[in-house]
Symmetry: C2
Subunit: 298 residues, 2 copies
């Protein structure tokens, strides 16, 4: 299926991600219908121009996008397939290993479903702000099963193209390790740092430089949404945390021992940090990702 | 001594801090002479308008500011006092417990010296950019001895006023715990996070959201300068690192155990982080510090 032949879509879940996908598809001329267990979420999305409310009279759509919280994706997918809402299904959950395994165990029709994850990041107006450009220029990861038919991948590719994103295929466990390293692990590290100031006085915090606020900004994210994400990517995130905890404990031990080599050992550790910061900054300049992901696999 | 009666000053150490102090004093009409073991550093500071090169013919100045790296402060102070460079001495080192104790052990004249630390933070054009406004509106901490004479404190207060900063008095060990919590500890945590990307491929890092770059930005700091700072504040920094390492290890254990309460426990930890981020942001709005430090002590 080419992007031009994607005509109708159902988006289930009218949160930030679902509404953004619906807005992008609507803008591209796709006829979008919307589902959410909360009727108000549907009417807000309709008001925003994301499509119209889905009704049982709607014929099966070319594509169904399941954009619920991760823990509800598989049940929602199973039920949508059982009710015949569409021909091809994908989801947008931020973890993929559990979702793709559970979809198989639950008996979902894998011949009509490909797991997916659009990596938005909050370049958008705000972390909770839906917009048709939310995924423009960003990677959109697909985690196909070995048996996923070509027509399913083509429909998902059409979705990604219409959202202005860049398609990338990863195995589910690789995907989960990638987001653990780049997003989920760092989120918890930043939260642990910020938590130290939860009960601090304004006089004490007034002594902080402005760079500390920048460092801990992501800790402002919704604790319940993040908690669900982290629990869904438990093993890879725990690995990241354990390694960073080990590095910090080693640095503390070097400081306490305080032998003559301490400054050298610390400087070497900090130099690693400087190299990492520089590489990350350099990669940011390639953020269109077309270059970075030219090979299609990381 | 009022700010108006501070007429002459020697600044020893023409790095970012020393040059910024010299620029502020020169702008205020103080006659500033400059010392650095590197003649090029002196001539660059002179070219920048920070003052003139000190010569042995200069009469003793009203104030001598020792702005060398922390490990050289005490020797520099001792030698400057022995040579009679001025009447009152202060320093700008970012740690204070070791510096003030060593100055006493070394036999420096404590009747003419008050340890100090201007908290600039990189609001300035860049972390290494000297400027007359580098300390404007920021706290400047003094750590007087019990025996520090009033005239010494008044001269230091005049320096702080002319730099546009806000004077705050803290005991040296309290100062060191404050900067360990707000700056030195977070620096190492960020470096440990950034170090994970030191050898990552551009394709992998291209998947990172832009917020990760913001999170790890401070890791770009000079490893050798930071290593010296950390080694000089070893105990308090090690305490911060151990506690954060413990929190991360606990979060990892919660994730691995994966029982039904895991999402709740994680959410509570993340909520602490959210509260800390919010308090820090609120304190930032008070950053003139006049309000926050109205009591004079944290």
């Amino acid at each position: 299926m080419s992007a031009a032949s994607l005509r109708t879509a159902v988006v289930i879940g009218c949160g930030t991600t679902g509404t953004s996908v619906a807005l992008a598809l609507t803008r591209a001329g796709v006829e979008v219908t919307l589902v959410d267990e909360n009727p108000r979420a549907v009417s807000e999305a309709v008001t925003a121009g994301a499509g119209t409310a889905w009704t049982p009279r709607c014929p099966p759509a070319d594509l169904v996008v399941v954009a619920t919280p991760p823990s509800e994706v598989v049940d929602t997918l199973y039920s949508a397939q059982a009710r015949g809402l569409g021909h091809v299904y994908t989801d947008t959950a931020v973890t993929k290993d559990i979702v793709s395994a559970e979809a198989e165990l639950r008996g979902c029709d894998l011949k009509g479903y490909v797991p997916g994850h659009p990596l938005a990041g909050p370049d958008a107006p705000g972390p909770t702000a839906a917009g048709a450009n939310r995924f423009t220029g960003r990677p959109w990861i697909l985690c196909p099963y070995e048996t996923t038919p070509g027509r399913v991948l083509e429909t998902a590719a059409a979705l990604i193209e219409l959202c202005g994103a860049h398609r990338l295929e990863l195995a589910p466990h690789v995907h989960d390790r990638v987001v653990a390293e780049l997003s989920h692990g760092p989120h918890l590290v930043v939260a642990a740092l910020a938590a130290r100031f939860a009960d601090s006085s304004p006089a004490f915090l007034g002594l902080a430089g402005p760079e500390l606020s920048d460092t801990v900004r992501t800790a402002a994210g919704d604790p319940w949404a993040w908690s669900e994400i982290l629990a869904h990517n438990a093993g890879p995130v725990a690995d990241v945390l354990d390694r960073i905890a080990g590095q910090l404990a080693r640095a503390a031990a070097i400081l306490r021992e305080g032998d003559d080599l301490a400054p050298l050992e610390l400087a070497l550790a900090l130099e690693e940090g400087r190299r990492g910061e520089a590489r990350l900054g350099a990669a940011g300049h390639l953020r269109t990702v077309q270059d970075a992901c030219a090979g299609g696999r990381v």
